[in-house]
Amino acid sequence: MISTAECAVDAQSLISISLRKIHNSRTQRGGIKLHKNLLVSYVLRNARQVYMNEKYAEIYRMQQYEEVMTVCNEIQELDPLDVVAGGAAADECEDAGVAEQQQCCAGGMAGGQASLCGAQPCSLPSAPEEACKTSETLFYRSCCAEPYPPPPPSPCDFSPAHCNKTTVLDLDTHVVTTVENGCLHQDCCCTPLQPCSSPSSKKRKVSDYSGCGYYAPELEDVSVDPAPCKRAKLEDCCSDCLVDLDTANISNLISIFGSGFSGLVSRQADFEQAFNGQFCSKQALASLGAWTRAIVAF
């Protein structure tokens, strides 16, 4: 019987329900049903896209507040001419970023190595493009900050002595972002509740968030990335889900699906060897992609 209260269509709960279904299908009589697991993986992918959208939007909103406060303080000390130059540079960055983003989207979707989620422009005509569009404004700064060769010290740098730190003012939304070491945050080394302790991290401009959503936008086209527009790492989404499942279950899943999951469980080992956020997020994102791909790779 369906309960009278419609269940909350919550992306995170859908993800954990889907993972549980996949796990249970192992012990079903008659062997794993390819069709059913394929359909479950679609739900998983859809829920993950929504979840990441929501999470990133939330982080961005919180960051926006912080940055606005920070830049307000800084602007008071600046020559007005510097601000204008910074805005112009931001425009260039934005254009470049958008182009890069669109490229990423297209490349990801049509890529020869397109994974389960990426390789279906036909059935989801609207969703990936939509996701691209909505994330465009969210991501462009990261785009402009990272994949290209480090830009020469530009007027938009508020602290020109540190080439690895870029602050960009978006004239459209009046949002300022500070990017350090090519990451919005450097934190994927951390467990959700602990601040980052990477040796190369600079003092971060953004505050810690408890519980969720550390994102290190991965801007190179990770060929295994099933959602090319979403560079954010889904560590916390998965870690929440994984907490629900036993470690034993995870190990079982891993043993079935192969090494694709090893990145998720051996996070700690990865973190130690990662020197910056990029490397870490790439691993985690790659392994996350392996979740959805490996689910159908019986």
Binding site: I2, V9, L39, A297
Partner: protein
């Protein structure tokens, strides 16, 4: 009887019979998994999760008088498939009968194909109503006679006996499918048939068991790139070179075996663009086609997805000619249906004899009759409460929201454990067989 099964809605349906245990406690092995009339409609076969096949035969004694109701009685029961174990993969192979398909009758015996997930079997069902008596070398009970006591010779003769129906496996078609078989379909040439699993379709000759031809293979080189599976396949009723297969993405591909040996390239692709306003987490699941059936005429085909039935004209690929909503009120409940796995239920559909009405099942033991000519539909229920002889079935209504009228049932009161997945329509008459979980209901057109 009434024409070739015409008219869904000026027909009034009456309860005729119900087969199966009355128990509310359903044994899993008794769950009916397939229902199929033979080509004349005289025989009705059911398969269950326990691997058994039960065949019912129409009582033809009173057929000449239209006002007499013909009844179906058990004709033969046999164990078709047993559970098996694949030692190499450490997998149990279920004995559940996924599909039964009758062969057209060629002689006194009847033949049917039954399949589980991995193996297809050809069964011969024959009657024996005479037995030889008067052997010289053995007694009537089979013991050998002492040859020294034989002093005369006699010719054995056939004497009538009680009718005995024997089922014997004549062919076993095994080891051709890596994935789970979902469909079998006998070709109109009466010599070949196809079997389809999630990724491949094989063509068999009915006489040859050690070889089959792979005619469709959609397995990608890298399994991680898998985006769709085959969900159903059927041969065209008249063109022996044509077959269709449906996919989990909601597309149907028609293939012509004359074009090439491997029919990976379709000759037609039937696909309706998705309505973006209906996009949800579950869009892929509800667009997956669970059944595809050609019309008897061969001009149309019908597909069933989770919420709707679509009729396609084989000459038009870009959209169906008709779409019927089966239970649109479930669209807002998809999340709950996902949680309790109901969203994965695979409903079948069927045509009536003259292709004017189609039928499919739903939840709460409801089933739907969709009249194509009159553009009307009706919801009926298969229940023990409406099981008095010749009781006319009353149309049921589901209240999607708002104020519930008298006699309506609200969506939240529907019993999602009572589902009708399998239905069959007599090829010539207005007789339908509807399978609930473990019971088979037979309804007939009301005759005055």
């Amino acid at each position: 009887m009434a024409g070739a099964g015409g008219g869904g809605n000026d027909v009034q349906w009456c309860f005729s019979q119900v087969k199966g245990a009355i128990d509310d406690d359903v044994a899993e092995a008794d769950i009916i998994s397939t229902v199929e009339f033979n080509h004349s409609g005289e025989l009705l076969a059911t398969g269950d999760k326990g691997g058994r096949v039960v065949i019912f035969q129409q009582d033809t004694e009173n057929k000449s008088q239209p006002q007499c109701r013909s009844e179906y009685n058990v004709y033969s029961t046999f164990q078709s498939h047993e559970p098996e174990f694949d030692y190499l993969k450490s997998l149990e192979i279920e004995e559940k009968i996924n599909k039964i398909r009758w062969l057209p009758q060629k002689n006194a015996a009847q033949f049917l194909l039954s399949t589980n997930d991995k193996t297809i079997k050809l069964w011969k069902i024959s009657e024996r109503d005479k037995r030889p008596e008067g052997y010289n070398l053995k007694e009537e009970d089979g013991r050998c006679r002492d040859s020294t006591t034989i002093t005369t010779l006699r010719v054995p003769v056939f004497r009538p006996m009680d009718l005995m129906v024997e089922a014997s496996p004549r062919r076993v078609f095994a080891n051709a499918h890596t994935y789970h078989i979902n469909s079998i379909s006998v070709n109109s040439d009466n010599e070949t048939y196809l079997s389809a699993d999630d990724l491949r379709i094989n063509l068999w000759h009915l006489e040859i068991t050690d070889r089959s031809f792979n005619i469709v293979d959609i397995k990608p080189a890298n399994m991680e790139e898998l985006t769709e599976v085959i969900t159903a396949a059927e041969f065209h009723p008249h063109q022996c070179n044509t077959f269709v297969y449906s996919s989990s993405k909601g597309t149907i591909r028609m293939c012509d075996m004359r074009a090439s040996a491997l029919c990976d390239k379709h000759s037609k692709l039937f696909e309706e663009p998705e309505d973006p306003s209906n996009r949800s987490f579950f869009s892929e699941i509800i667009s997956s086609i669970s059944d595809v059936k050609f019309s008897h005429s061969g001009r149309y085909m019908m597909t069933r997805d989770y919420l709707s039935v679509k009729i396609w004209d084989l000459n038009m690929e870009n959209r169906p000619v008709e779409t019927y909503q089966v239970h649109e009120y479930l669209r807002s409940k998809l999340c709950s249906l996902y949680e309790n796995d109901c969203i994965f239920d695979k409903f079948e559909c069927c045509w009536n004899g003259n292709d004017s009405v189609v039928m499919t099942g739903s939840y709460n033991n409801f089933f739907r009759m969709l009249d194509r000519t009159q553009r009307r539909d009706v919801t009926l229920e298969a229940s023990r409460e409406s099981s008095k002889p010749r009781q006319v079935l009353k149309p049921r209504r589901v209240c999607a929201g708002g104020k519930r009228k008298k006699d309506e049932i609200s969506v939240d009161s529907l019993d999602f454990n009572k589902k009708i997945l399998h239905t069959a329509w007599h090829p010539q008459e207005n007789i339908i067989a509807v399978a609930t979980t473990n019971n088979l209901y037979i309804f007939q057109e009301k005759v005055n």
